[in-house]
């Protein structure tokens, strides 16, 4: 009898255990099921998205750097959840730690369903190993409506690996307080010398010339990278020669000039006393306080300032390009923060569904209309919000060129390291030429890993 009881008990316990283990099968599809959905599954997904019927109880994890996810996108994510039952779990990481966290997750096979990353061919191949870690999105409908220049920055061997929905006026320009300039009798500078004189005059008047958030680790690199077209103009064929490994950063006179001038600006105190601990998130507040006359920022900053301090109107601010190395070319970045679907994710089809939802024309227009920092998006058929000052900026600088990060290979993947080198230069631990040497060293390492012909002859 005892033996019988023991056998019955073990059968019941084993059954209970097996039932518990298999309990999730109904709520979530297995990885293999969702990674390779059948045609009928694809149809049901489409139906769910369109009609709101057959809602799923799924959560998509989405890893992104701070400032990449706008409030309007979160509102759209709520609408998406209402429609499909698919919840988006945003995991926002501070900018200075984001790439290390992301790459560690990707390299250890622990990626989220969706991850944010910067666009650029060398960026997506070397930083994210997109061909391995990201899903091919070439067949998605929205690809045809996205700006071809943006799509190109996310394409490797003919396959599109991410979606960029970003402001087309995201070029960082110097936003200046027109009232301060007028009070000091200053005009928009056209050379570095004029810029330095103007900044020193502002400094003498008791106003800090520039707000520069170095603490985030990435912003101060813009000063060096954005005037790239000017370096290319001063040293003809520089971009092409760098990509072919026929020249390097170390021997580039315009680049050395630019970094030397940047260091001079820091040494002169043009960034104030606390640049190394100043943060990007505080930029609008600081500019709205009136303590700073200029900031290197996207063209939405005046609206942000007006929102914080209504006494300062958006029209009180104007724009000009970074004048290092006497730059007068408007630099364009056709890319921006982009959304990748992780190839090892459990909910690949749902992630694609979310990207499709975001790219629907009415949702793009909603994002554009409800994001103060956006003036236009890189999709066709939308109504832009360019201000008069932005139109004036485009008229003032008719010559345009692509910045270094998007054109020159192996630059963007080392952005944060360049930031560290430049901080070292500010602190006196390195000279401008040492920063350039470090960039060359890392480019060489990356190119060798990538088996780039230019470096592996």
């Amino acid at each position: 009898m005892k033996r019988f009881t023991a056998v019955c008990t073990s059968i019941i316990l084993t059954s209970a255990l097996l039932t518990a283990c298999g309990g999730n099968n109904n709520s979530e599809p297995s990885a293999s099921q969702s990674a390779t959905p059948s045609a009928s599954q694809g149809e049901s997904t489409e139906t769910a998205s369109n009609s709101g019927a057959a809602k799923k109880d799924i959560t998509l994890t989405y890893l992104a750097s701070q400032d990449w996810i706008k409030d309007a996108e979160m509102e759209l994510a709520k609408k998406f959840e209402e429609k499909t039952g698919i919840h988006i779990d945003y995991q926002i990481i501070p900018a200075d730690q984001y790439f290390n966290v992301l790459k560690t997750k990707l390299n250890s096979g622990e990626g989220p369903d969706l991850f944010g990353g910067q666009s650029g061919k060398s960026e997506i191949s070397l930083n994210y190993n997109a061909q391995k870690n990201a899903v091919d999105l070439s067949d998605q409908e929205w690809v045809k409506r996205e700006d071809p220049l943006s799509v190109d920055q996310l394409t490797l061997n003919g396959k599109v690996y991410a979606q960029t929905i970003w402001d087309t006026s995201n070029s960082y320009v110097i936003v200046y307080n027109k009232k301060v300039f007028a009070e000091q009798g200053l005009n928009v500078p056209t050379t570095y010398a004029e810029f330095k004189d103007a900044a020193l005059k502002i400094q003498k008047a008791g106003i800090t010339p520039l707000y520069e958030p170095v603490a985030d680790g990435w912003h101060h690199v813009l000063w060096f990278a954005e005037p790239g077209p000017q370096y290319d103009k001063l040293q003809p064929n520089l971009y092409e020669d760098l990509n072919a490994n026929k020249t390097n950063f170390e021997t580039s006179a315009p680049m050395l000039t630019s970094l030397t001038q940047l260091k001079e600006m820091y040494d002169l105190g043009l960034f104030g006393d606390n640049a190394l601990s100043d943060t990007f998130a505080d930029m609008a507040n600081q500019m709205a306080s009136g303590k700073f006359a200029m900031a290197l920022m996207t063209q939405d900053l005046p609206q942000q300032i007006e929102k914080i301090n209504p006494e300062l109107k958006a029209t009180d601010f104007g724009f000009f390009v970074i004048p290092l190395a006497d730059n007068q070319i408007y630099y364009v970045n056709p890319g921006g923060p982009s959304k990748f679907v992780y190839s090892g994710g459990k909910h690949i089809e749902e992630a694609k569904q979310y990207l499709g939802f975001l790219a629907e024309p009415e949702n793009l227009q909603y994002l554009l209309d409800n994001t103060p920092t956006f003036s236009n998006l890189n999709f066709s058929g939308l109504k832009d919000k360019y201000s008069d000052e932005q139109k004036k900026l485009h008229e003032t600088y008719p010559v345009k060129g692509t910045d270094i990060q998007d054109y020159v290979n192996y630059v963007n993947p080392q952005w944060m390291d360049m930031g560290k080198d430049i901080v070292g230069m500010f602190g006196g631990a390195a000279e401008p030429v040492d920063v350039l040497k470090s960039i060359d060293k890392r480019r060489s390492d990356m190119a060798k890993i990538a088996k780039d012909e230019g470096w592996n002859k």
Partner: protein, 292 residues
């Protein structure tokens, strides 16, 4: 007799198997991978001998400064935590008022996660708006206000200070337990022999506290050599590379997909920790061996 000897061995088989599977095998594999060009961009793994180690010791990058920073952090925190921990332990072992309250106050930081401590101190040590500089300015000590975490001269010292603040309570508890196990009769005998306070400390307290000191020193040493969170959260290795340590470098190498170099750094640290731990234990237990 033979059966008596082999019988206990059967019981340890499972442990040996787990130890081999989860510690020995990964350790040996790690050593092997440190001799390869393993990276995330290629499926091939090629044997490259000691090239990764050569890179660490000879390349233009900052690896040697990471080693120096790690040693600097380790020595500084071992000395500071031991000295302060001993001071607090002695004070609490004597008859100070509100003993329990003070013990809790000193120990409390030890139970707060380093991530939280780091975020709080990042705010406290902000040069413009941080509580520390604001307080210093408020009481007229402006000249003491510093750019704690962003000045090359202060950043590393600030990390050491924050880590010491967090870790000293843990050391204090171990040393306090050691102090309380010393019989009062030793001190009475020393008093009869005419020993003053210093003599009692030097010839009674320290020798009898040595087992606890060995434990705290080795723990601090191992913790110091593998420091990561404090640096990562407070400065992320900055300004520039001024506060990067070996573990932040390992993290960076792995995040860049350069597994071979990262593993070589780990191997180097493992060897160093083993040697340092061995010699520290030998050095500090030398007197004990002689006495026994």
């Amino acid at each position: 007799m033979l059966r008596n000897k082999t019988y206990p061995f059967y019981f340890t088989l499972a442990t040996i198997a787990l130890y081999t599977l989860f510690l020995v095998v990964p350790g040996v594999m790690g050593f092997y991978y440190s001799l390869t060009d393993w990276n995330s961009f290629s499926d091939e793994i090629n044997f490259i001998g000691l090239d990764n180690f050569k890179t660490l010791f000879s390349s233009g990058e900052h690896y040697m400064s990471y080693v120096y920073n790690t040693l600097n952090f380790t020595v500084s925190t071992v000395v500071l935590k031991t000295a302060l921990g001993l001071l607090f332990a002695i004070a609490l072992n004597e008859g100070i008022k509100m003993k329990g309250f003070h013990r809790v106050m000193v120990f409390m930081p030890a139970i707060i996660p380093m991530l939280v401590v780091g975020l709080v101190f990042k705010s406290v040590l902000n040069p413009a708006t941080g509580l520390l500089n604001e307080t210093l300015r408020y009481v007229g000590l402006d000249f003491l206000a510093q750019k704690w975490l962003v000045d090359v001269n202060w950043a590393f010292k600030s990390i050491i200070a924050v880590d010491t603040w967090k870790g000293v309570g843990y050391i204090m508890i171990i040393l306090l337990a050691g102090l309380q196990s010393i019989s009062k009769s030793y001190y009475e005998a020393a008093s009869i022999d005419g020993a003053n306070l210093w003599h009692k400390f030097r010839y009674v307290t320290i020798p009898l506290l040595m087992p606890s000191l060995v434990v705290t020193t080795v723990l601090n040493l191992l913790y110091g050599l593998k420091v990561f969170e404090a640096v990562y959260v407070l400065t992320n290795g900055g300004p520039g590379y001024a506060t990067d340590v070996v573990y932040t470098a390992i993290f960076k190498e792995f995040s860049m997909g350069r597994y071979g170099v990262g593993t070589a750094l780990s191997t180097m640290l493992f060897v160093f920790m083993t040697i340092a731990g061995y010699f520290i234990i030998r050095l500090m237990t030398k007197g004990e061996d002689e006495r026994s």
